[in-house]
Symmetry: C2
Subunit: 342 residues, 2 copies
């Protein structure tokens, strides 16, 4: 299949074509990269835009069940839903966590849903790019909502926050009245905190936890991109499918407000700038994977390990040998400008 | 002062020269970098080696007091001690945390101690390099022990673990019998866990906490680089200066064993390889700071933000314009090799 046909099929929303296109953007081979770039360029012309919802939460809070229930609700409302995952740790755990589609069995059976297992090989830069391009492909395919789930911790949350229009933080009811170990940065990135498992015996605990977080959110300064009352905390039960409709209507309210106020477009433009810079960094670093660079690095690496040469001299040698034109050319200056005299 | 004279003064252990040399390696100007590389190369020939001790612990566990007491004890034994800090977050907090030398007032007054405030500007790659080179300078200056303190959290701990021969984790007595929120990775990197504040009313709690961690450490698999009984947990009081001598003799025991078994040299060689790769990555990324690259990036960044061009195409354009010789040259191949047919 050529790129033009693939682009057409993606635009028609054919799920197999979307899966194929994602595999293409995930490929690290230079010739595939060129094709991926061409494909993304063609598809960018559709100008289609989804609501990109980032979803974070520690293991055990019920993310899969939430995505299943929330996704099915949206599908029943006639929306088309895509689910992607960011999982920089999947290398260690030996595979895709979302790979097991039975995790979202009903949703994955719906013709209006697309679930992409997380790629199994990964360094963070690569994962971020692939996810970002996966989101772009889903938008071009006409999905109305793209759910981007963080699997793993730490930096993947930052990646998702930088990818999404709306960032949801899913929490479980806490045992006591103590806030769970949520990092401040994540809390500050959240637009809506959803305390899940507000069902059965856990319901009172969920309501208390929700009140605690609502209190904590009130302590944060209101952000310019938020209308009155946001960010907010609310309870949901993915199991009982309760509160999900309210959560969705809050999301829609936020989207409408941000669109009307111009924050939506500003944020998308900022994110685009950020991703371009990341793309440049990753593309540059990928040059180190060339056979020539690898060979020189291996030799120098051995010399550094033996103490024959310092790491900084070895790095200079490397660049002088493989990319001489990239050397800094500034003439040496007096040392005194750099050093202090304590 | 020229590089040869500076190198001589550093080798004579003159503290002002060491401070000056560190300022030079911290400079980001290309001409200073060339001088720093030359200086480090000259000094590498001394072949001097210190015991590099990494020290991590959340705020409030008493790191400064520990360094003060522990450093003074070593100085009293006739050893020369250098203290460096890794603080990638100092940019945000607006300055050097170690800058306030009164934090370690007595130690800083000793002629056999050298305390370096953490640099105030930082991105992680830069901080890691500067710290690594600072350690090398302190070794060349004949310090017997280099204490590398993590300030801030997360990645700085990884940096310190990759820099040190011995990694200490300092903890405070826990309120209950529960393990504090220590990340598994940090716990696994620790050679010795020191439960501080084993003094006064906190002593029983410190002993309980120590027992808890000792139990947790027994659950970890024994590492090939450890003799019987390591990693271990012990109590200390930096305030009462108790347990510090025992901690130091355990450190020496570990150092001797690892030297005798060959693990010491293996680890240093692995670390050197790692730092060389990091150096290459950082040197490469630093090329993006050239005025030409910045100008092209700014233009393209605006076009990406406006949606005129995709991030991946813009990155390709950038490299084609400023470093055409770095472009990947592999010929395009069939798409089918990359894509799957689900």
């Amino acid at each position: 299949m050529d790129i033009a046909s693939l682009a057409d099929a993606v635009q028609r929303g054919e799920r197999r074509a979307v899966a194929r296109a994602i595999t293409l953007v995930e490929s690290t081979r230079p010739e595939h990269r060129a094709q991926a770039t061409a494909l993304l360029e063609t598809l960018a012309r559709t100008g289609r835009e989804a609501i990109r919802i980032g979803l974070s939460g520690t293991p055990g809070v019920g993310k899969s069940t939430f995505i299943e229930s929330f996704g099915l609700m949206l599908v029943e409302q006639g929306l088309r839903v895509a689910v992607l995952a960011v999982d920089p740790s999947s290398k260690r755990t030996g595979g895709s966590i979302l790979g097991d589609k039975t995790r979202m069995e009903q949703l994955s059976r719906s013709p209006n849903a697309f679930i992409r297992p997380s790629p199994s090989q990964s360094h963070l830069g690569g994962v971020a790019r692939r996810t970002r391009e996966g989101v772009a492909l889903c938008e071009a395919a006409g999905y109305d909502v793209v759910l981007i789930e963080t699997v793993g911790v730490g930096q993947s949350e930052t990646v998702v926050a930088e990818l999404s229009d709306i960032f949801l933080l899913l929490l479980a009811p806490a045992g006591g009245d103590e806030l769970q170990g949520v990092k401040r940065g994540i809390m500050e990135a959240a637009d809506i905190i959803l305390v899940n498992k507000a069902d059965g015996a856990l319901k009172p605990a969920a309501m208390r936890t929700c009140a605690d977080y609502a209190g904590a959110l009130r302590l944060l300064r209101r952000r310019p991109q938020d209308p009155e009352g946001f960010p907010k905390a609310m309870t949901v039960s993915a199991l009982d499918v309760s509160g999900l409709d309210v959560a969705w209507s809050e999301i829609c309210k936020l989207v409408e407000w941000r669109r009307a106020q111009g924050h939506w477009q500003t944020r998308r433009a900022e994110q685009a700038r950020h991703w371009f810079q990341e793309e440049v960094r990753q593309t540059l670093l990928a040059r180190l994977d060339s056979p020539q660079a690898r060979a020189v690095m291996q030799t120098l690496s051995g010399q550094v390990a033996d103490g024959q040469i310092t790491a900084s001299r070895a790095a200079e040698d490397l660049f002088a040998r493989i990319w001489p034109e990239m050397q800094p050319t500034n003439p040496p200056e007096s040392l005194d400008a750099a050093t202090d005299t304590p």
